[in-house]
Symmetry: C2
Subunit: 510 residues, 2 copies
């Protein structure tokens, strides 16, 4: 068990009155009294780089996480591994409750998106967590050490994974820690399932699930990932979009050429790629790729009603983000994330800025992110894009082109298919969902929203296919958390709320 | 004077027979006997980073260069400075020849294009010159130290500036060194003019010329920059294209957004920029911007004939560069560089490759390089592009947009105008040109080509406007020198030839 001797002075007072408090008041008191220690462990966890493709450092995360679990009295801790020794393990643990017949699995992931350190706010490093007094956009600054004694709910922790999703992991563990400390009786068995390659598209998850079907039996998966609603309201989300990637690489001359001596004569790969990308959407922002929207299963009336009942945030968001309009005129955010999307994640060719040079580049590369809704199949969705590229006259290869291929094909492109998964959604009529919403409603003055689909993706489809798992998403992060990008952050108030929410869910009787 | 004591053993033999040799044979003998020492100084020069915007290191280049000149007995060495103390100086020097009535100025530049070290061949660094046995494309490798004793003419020196244009500076200085050593009589005064910000568009050159009109009086400028013809033939080039840049930056959300939660709803700046760029050329590779080709002064019959007489290299080059076709169907390289061009030097938004992330980027930036021919005006050419952007519905600003501007304009773009200069061309009928060609013909078995225009740019227009200077370009570098890009190099045989060519020009009687 964790050594609590450090915090005794803080706790003495609260211990005396604890017996008269409700379970959730006891949880709140515990996390208030111990906040510095909780953040200390959270910061140490955030300091370990967690890009899943770096197998050395991702392994250190798994080990540290298992130690955090052990110190909280979680039992049956194990690493669930894929055949590939480099694949990050799932860190598993459980609490068996005598007499309990139902089981809840709490899911979060400890890996994060890749980082480009140069883009982070000056003074910030993705793996050196810092407390900052606000949001970057509003001229925030790092809190001086001397002022950290009283932590404001408005402050934010900046680090890769702060919100997505080490914040989720820490909220789950802290919620359990508080319950265990107060010796509050649980009514369901609890399992902990912390994935280590969600941001890579969970390529080994299916195999790990297949190997551990019995260990992972449950009645409900709570997926702790993603942001709360942009209005700040808590939400239970019934599904998530699927996701698939394509990397497109177009070729220019084999050596970079002087743009004076050869400009006008050697074809420029950026122009070719720009023209191709441009052909994928029309001026109204809709994807022009054939059948792109064809296999979408429409929302049910219940789902449409749920969407309509969420507070409309479009105008507030547009103002905050400096966007004069939405991409598809008249289509709201809630409607948009219930359609398949095509987004350009990034593009690169040669250089711009201080190291720009007068060249005709050797290649140009863009990464396309396809989000999918129910009815889409991720491989079919990728194929639609590839078919479009072929229809535009390109010869598609899956490798660096040979001299012969360069010679033969005027329009040549390398397309690399990334991993993907399909969308998944639990029926909004499912009775257990009402239990979950009710549990969260206990600690919220305002209504808890019920939303059919999260715009982001989670490996819900594979959980459903392999384990027939029933999943509900309970996000805790602030909506403006810069997830996936530079200056990722979680607001202190969201982290605190998250602990309370997860404790409430652990106390549920299903 | 330079201390020649090191090389005495090498020279003893040649000294005995020298008296019977022609002047150019004596030059050749000198550079053969001293090649290791010449390269030693060349390598030391290449080791000083030379991006003109880095005022600290560019100044070290100027100082080292002035020392090289002093050690060769060049007199009246001075730094010709602009008012801005950060502007790199022109390093000037001269040799006054008793009785001479004509003056030749030798121009080269000691600054280089910016570098992206990561793109260089493994083991190479732009500012650590290396001898490599061939061209990168053909699987070259760095020469082991033990094998450097006998230097092969096919080897190449890799470094930023090796060909563009420290190679030119060193060839000029070594040619003079050889003439001085052999005490060969000059018939013209010689001035040396080494510029330090040519790759930045020579923003202070006009001011420096204005201040030093008398000092810079001359009958002929020999511009030693650029590559020889792709066929390997030596060439005298009568002019160069002008150049102007535009940087285009398009905006997305103020914070980077998760491409799942907001993909389809927040407009993507890459798509907007791609569509704009794509609108600038048609499928036949011609620029679609209104009046883009309108003010071009057509080539004269003499110029057309000169172009036609150059060996056609298009098919050989396309094969070597892996290009299935030229950009404008049926337009040869020689024809293409006599038209204004629009090239995308680079594009960037967010990331691709190992650090790609699932985001909607905050902005997308592209750099456009416009090359100009006679008749074009560089500011007018920039304006044509800007007018095109406006015609495509964009609101153009010259600063980071304010919140109000973001809110007001659905299509918003920041356009930054770079420095520029116009094309310039000396008449192909100019009698002195014949003297120059004849001087070069002395040391060439094959015909010396006469070409109206170099594809690249040089500050010829400002020389003509301020000084009424008459200029001829005499390039020495190999055509496949990767000028401006990673793995820039000069072939040993071209550097050797260059020394001989410049010595022949210094010996001319005008």
């Amino acid at each position: 068990m964790r050594n609590y001797s450090y915090v005794l002075p803080f706790l003495l007072c609260s211990l005396l009155v604890q017996a008269q408090w409700s379970p959730l008041e006891q949880v709140r008191s515990y996390r208030q009294s111990n906040e510095h220690l909780i953040l200390q462990e959270f910061f140490a966890f955030l300091s370990i780089p967690n890009v899943a493709t770096d197998s050395a450092t991702i392994g250190r995360n798994a080990v540290y996480l298992s130690q955090l679990m052990k110190s909280r009295g979680i039992t049956h801790i194990s690493f669930l591994k894929a055949d590939d020794p480099k694949a990050p393990p799932v860190v598993f643990g459980e609490i068996k409750v005598p007499g309990a017949t139902k089981t809840i699995i709490f899911y979060a992931h400890y890996d994060g998106q890749p980082v480009n350190k140069q883009l982070w706010m000056p003074g910030l490093d993705p793996f050196t967590p810092q407390l900052v007094n606000g949001n970057r956009l509003e001229g925030a600054s790092i809190i001086p050490l001397a002022e950290k004694n009283t932590i404001s709910p408005e402050w934010r922790i900046y680090a890769r994974g702060a919100s997505d999703d080490k914040g989720g992991v820490m909220a789950v563990l802290t919620a359990y820690e508080a319950l265990a400390y107060a010796k509050l009786p649980l009514k369901c068995n609890i399992k902990f399932f912390f994935e280590g390659e969600e941001e890579q598209g969970s390529p080994h998850l299916s195999q790990i699930l297949e190997k551990n079907k019995e260990l992972l039996s449950s009645d409900l998966w709570i997926i702790c990932d993603g942001p709360v609603h942009q209005s700040g309201l808590k939400q239970v989300v019934f599904g998530a979009r699927g996701d698939a990637h394509l990397t497109l690489k177009v070729y220019g001359p084999k050596s970079p050429l002087h743009s004076g001596h050869y400009g006008n004569w050697a074809p420029n790969p950026v122009m070719s790629l720009a023209t191709l990308l441009s052909s994928m959407k029309d001026s109204s922002g809709r994807v022009t790729i054939r059948d792109f929207y064809k296999d979408v299963i429409p929302l049910t009336d219940v789902e449409k009603k749920a969407i309509a009942s969420a507070p409309p945030m479009d105008e507030t968001l547009k103002k905050k983000l400096g966007l004069p309009r939405e991409e598809m005129k008249g289509v709201s955010l809630m409607e948009a994330i219930n359609l398949p999307s095509l987004n350009i994640n990034g593009i690169e060719s040669s250089n711009v800025g201080t190291i720009q040079a007068n060249v005709i580049p050797v290649s140009a590369t863009a990464v396309i992110d396809l989000r999918l809704v129910l009815g889409n199949d991720w491989k079919r969705q990728q194929q639609k894009v590839i078919d479009h590229i072929v229809a535009k006259g390109f010869h598609v290869v899956d490798h660096e082109p040979t001299d012969e291929e360069r010679n033969l094909f005027e329009k040549l492109i390398r397309v690399t298919r990334g991993e993907g998964d399909n969308a998944q959604r639990t029926s909004m009529d499912w009775p257990l969902a009402k239990t979950v919403v009710a549990a969260l409603q206990q600690i919220s003055q305002q209504p808890v929203l019920q939303i059919p689909t999260l715009g982001g993706s989670l490996p819900l489809d594979v959980l459903s296919r392999v384990l027939h798992a029933k999943t509900l998403i309970v996000p805790i992060a602030n909506a403006d958390n810069n997830q996936h990008a530079e200056n990722e952050n979680i607001m202190i108030s969201n982290f605190r709320d998250g602990i309370d929410m997860l404790a409430a869910l652990m106390l549920m009787k299903l």
